[in-house]
């Protein structure tokens, strides 16, 4: 679905993305983790065609990304950005309908309206369908934006969803909800790529994890393969311990400082 091979991107002499390769298949959720400034957002921009790679290839659905026009991409690939302030106030319903813009000319079809309704139910925002977006709380706004990007690819088999730190600034409940939703989308056959800050969330929800450090790839593989004390120390420069209990299907990371304090 998405094949990335040896891509580079540099600004001046600074290499922001340095020889990164990975692939994501339909039905998979890829988590991209790494410290601040590791090149996660730049990588996402390259995948969105917002930036052009200096060298290397990105293939989407077996075609080079350069062969797609923006509106072609928009029909099967949607992106949830980190910053979502809107300059003009819209009703929640209108905002979610914007997700359908790439699919209709002037008037939404019945299909578009049904999709908007279904997505709003799924994301639990039906109750504020008629509220003004700017009057919602941060968590509610994030869910509305998520509903918009899901609506954009809802009826596309094997759609692609990019999420840039979707849990940023949200409380624990919303973080869980949003990642569960991302997980269920992947289970439905979408290809989901998400930048995450929380390693444990990445470990729990993702099929594959890509660890970045200073634009380079530290590790790529299943959470069990790549989330190790060495990799985490390499990427984040902190010492951690792994709880690999049978109870957990996935490794759980705990900063070792906390552990020493407890013991």
């Amino acid at each position: 679905m998405i094949e990335v091979s040896h891509i580079h991107y540099s600004v001046g002499t600074k290499k922001l993305v340095d020889d990164i390769s990975f692939d994501v298949q339909p039905g998979e959720l890829l988590a991209v983790i790494g410290a601040n400034g590791a090149g996660k957002s730049t990588l996402l921009k390259l995948l969105c065609k917002e930036l052009q790679t200096s060298s290397g290839e990105i293939h989407i659905r077996r075609q080079p990304i350069g062969t797609y026009k923006l509106d072609q991409l928009a029909r099967f690939r949607s992106v949830l950005a980190q910053q979502n302030t809107i300059s003009i106030s819209f009703k929640v319903q209108e905002l979610v309908m914007m997700g359908r813009y790439p699919h209709f000319d002037n008037t939404p079809t019945e299909n578009d309206k049904e999709i908007v309704k279904a997505v709003m139910t799924e994301t639990g925002i039906t109750e504020f369908a008629n509220r003004d977006y700017n009057t919602l709380s941060g968590g509610e706004q994030q869910r509305v934006q998520l509903a918009r990007v899901i609506a954009q690819i809802y009826d596309q088999p094997e759609g692609i969803l990019f999420l840039d730190e979707p849990t940023n600034g949200l409380d624990l409940l919303y973080q869980q909800q949003i990642l569960s939703l991302a997980r269920s989308l992947a289970d439905r056959g979408y290809c989901v790529v998400s930048i995450l800050h929380d390693i444990n969330f990445a470990s729990r929800f993702a099929d594959k994890v890509l660890i970045l450090k200073k634009g380079r790839r530290v590790g790529f593989g299943s959470p069990k393969q790549v989330i190790s004390c060495e990799n985490i120390h390499d990427a984040f420069n902190i010492r951690v311990r792994l709880l690999d209990d049978e109870e957990f299907k996935c490794p759980l990371v705990i900063p070792s400082m906390v552990l020493t304090e407890q013991s």
Binding site: L70, S87, L95
Partner: protein, 349 residues
């Protein structure tokens, strides 16, 4: 969407009513039945003459072109205001703030003052009656382009820089206009004053046909950018992710808005506040959706200017108040109300 259609129909009816009122009221009174009779007679539907020849002449040669000019100019200014606010993602943007009007004025004034001194009527010979419009249009484009270039960094137009650049370029254009005022003759000075206050007094069939192509292009093409401008409200990269070519959108909208506003300013001078306030009235009353606000602004702006012109030419009759005075007089309180309401909204959230 069904709702929007209804609102637009109502706005169209308001415009028709305002126009009908405006063609009837003035020094020569025309009653509704006389208007109807003239219309039937002129369209050949009825041979019945229930009006005086003087009424017919006033209607056809004076009132009708004036109302048409008002509607075209008002509609264009308001639609340009609506797309500018959408494009720059800022509720306070309007053609005047980013230099379209002052640039058009400056070049129009240059045309008035310098044409016979430096260019020796070459331009008038070349462009004929369109020379002023062409000059104003070129001026509008150049200033807008400069303001836009100043504000663009890494492909993004920074709003604060944009407004500051607009203020700076407006001031610069103003000082050049001042210099031209200094060297102008008395007759030219009158013409320059006319630009700065705005008036539809120059209305004739010639001016109407002069600006018709320019304004029609703006009025007919800009509504097609409604969806893209809605997407742009989410952010520039977000719009890109939805398949919008943001840089192309910016260029097209600026060119198309500048085209109409440049031509409007060329024949009517600086008419303030119509472009700024009209879109806000629609947003506050109904919805911020550009699919309503853009065509709605054209219709409402046209009505507002037709009515403002009606007041301007009747309130101190037989003299005539420059319409720019009137629109600013009514526009300013509305504008202040918007600022206050906006601030209140921010505090609440």
């Amino acid at each position: 969407m069904k709702n929007y259609g209804f609102i637009l129909v109502v706005l169209t009816l308001i415009l028709i009513a305002a126009s009908a009122l405006s063609v009837c009221v003035g020094a020569v009174e025309i009653s509704a039945s006389e208007l109807w009779s003239i219309m039937l007679y002129r369209t050949g539907l009825s041979g019945d003459i229930q009006f005086s020849p003087q009424q017919e002449a006033v209607l056809i040669n004076i009132r009708l072109p004036r109302v048409l000019l008002g509607a075209l100019v008002g509609g264009t200014l308001a639609i340009a205001g609506a797309v500018m606010q959408g494009l720059f993602r800022n509720p306070l943007a309007e053609p005047g703030l980013i230099g379209i009007s002052s640039g058009a004025s400056l070049f129009a004034v240059m045309m008035i003052v310098l044409e016979n001194r430096i260019f020796n009527h070459v331009l008038t010979a070349l462009f004929g009656y369109y020379a002023l419009s062409v000059a104003a249009f070129v001026g509008a484009c150049i200033t807008t382009f400069i303001v836009y270039r100043l504000a663009v960094g890494k492909g993004k137009a920074d709003i604060t820089t944009l407004l500051l650049a607009g203020i700076a370029i407006n001031a610069l254009a103003g000082s050049f206009t001042g210099m031209l005022t200094f060297i102008s003759t008395d007759q030219e000075l009158r013409d320059i004053t006319f630009w700065n206050l705005g008036s539809l007094g120059g209305a004739s069939w010639k001016t109407v046909t002069g600006i018709l192509p320019f304004t029609l292009i703006s009025l007919c093409t800009l509504p097609f950018f409604s969806k893209a401008l809605n997407a742009l409200a989410l952010g520039e990269s977000q719009a890109g992710h939805m398949g919008i070519q943001v840089n192309l959108l910016k260029k097209l909208v600026i060119v198309l808005a500048t085209l109409g506003v440049g031509a409007s300013v060329a024949v009517s001078g600086m008419i303030s506040f119509v472009g700024l306030v009209t879109p806000h009235i629609l947003r506050m009353a109904f919805s911020a959706d550009h699919r309503l606000v853009i065509p709605g602004s054209a219709l409402l702006g046209a009505s507002v200017l037709v009515l403002a012109d009606l007041i301007a030419r009747t309130i101190v009759a037989p003299a005539e108040l420059p319409i720019g005075i009137l629109t600013a007089l009514i526009g300013t309180p509305v504008f202040i109300y918007i600022i206050m309401a906006e601030r209140k909204r921010r505090v609440v959230n």
